[in-house]
């Protein structure tokens, strides 16, 4: 097991209102960790999807979508971890979508997980011992 370095932690009381602040923190720490411009865009895109999912699905669009943001780094890369206390999300219950057909039909839904998986190297969902939910986004760092 690789040793993880804790780079950042903050709790936001309303992810809808604090959307920009959360993503600004991710961008700042990711840039300091050495991600290049393309990778910064991708981690921003993945984090934006994760926060949007939490607001819209875990908290069903209700106010007060409390989110904890943690950023860690280990040999697998930079990890952005978002914790929420809303409805759990099980990605295995989300069917694979045909993106072209979905968009051509003007249907919403299912795109967020697809985009997250394209933006970062790993997307993991789970439940913490206290019952809260987490999503962990891992983006490989450039070789030194």
């Amino acid at each position: 097991m690789s040793k993880s370095q804790h780079l950042f932690e903050a709790t936001f009381n309303d992810a809808y209102q604090d959307f920009d602040s959360i993503l600004e923190a991710v961008a700042k720490i990711a840039a300091a960790a050495g991600l290049d411009k393309a990778a910064l865009f991708q981690i921003d895109g993945a984090a934006a999807e994760a926060v949007a999912n939490i607001v819209q699905h875990a908290y069903r669009g209700l106010e007060g979508a409390r989110v904890k943001l943690e950023i860690e780094q280990d040999e697998s890369g930079l990890q952005v971890i978002l914790t929420d206390w809303g409805k759990p999300f099980d990605p295995s219950q989300v069917p694979e979508i045909d993106v072209r057909a979905q968009l051509a039909a003007g249907k919403r839904g299912g795109l967020g997980l697809y985009m997250m998986r394209r933006f970062v190297d790993r997307v993991e969902y789970g439940t913490n011992p206290d019952g809260s939910n987490f999503v962990r986004l891992t983006k490989a760092l450039p070789l030194a």
Binding site: D20, F41, G45, L103, A104, R108, G112, M115
Partner: protein, 114 residues
């Protein structure tokens, strides 16, 4: 409720500029602004993404759903001035198969001319 600033060009084309940075609130405002154009029978709309570097799937969903509503009325929802980053999202999702995409606002406006 305020909406993203819109302006009407010749040929009755409405130009919309999403608020920046794009977030859940600005996407909701864009959706409201598009719905308002439909309510007022303004069926020719260009969304100018100049300076926009992010578009979550929520926003993509709004665009892909709304474009069908404008076309049903004989109009269109065209998009223009995509940043490099936004172009990557459009390429990833093959959005140019759903939306008419133009490099500049002028090109998008020209495309509405009969």
């Amino acid at each position: 409720m305020a909406h993203p600033p819109g302006e009407t060009k010749p040929c009755d084309v409405v130009i919309l500029h999403p608020d920046r940075p794009v977030n859940l609130r600005s996407i909701a405002r864009l959706e409201d602004a598009l719905a308002e154009q439909l309510r007022h029978a303004r069926y020719k709309v260009v969304v100018d993404f100049e300076g926009v570097n992010r578009m979550p799937s929520t926003g993509i969903g709004v665009l892909s759903e709304m474009v069908g509503l404008f076309r049903r009325e004989g109009g269109d929802l065209k998009v223009c001035t995509l940043s490099y980053e936004l172009s990557q999202v459009f390429d990833m999702l093959a959005l140019d198969e759903v939306l008419n995409v133009y490099s500049t606002q002028e090109e998008a406006l020209r495309a509405f001319k009969p």
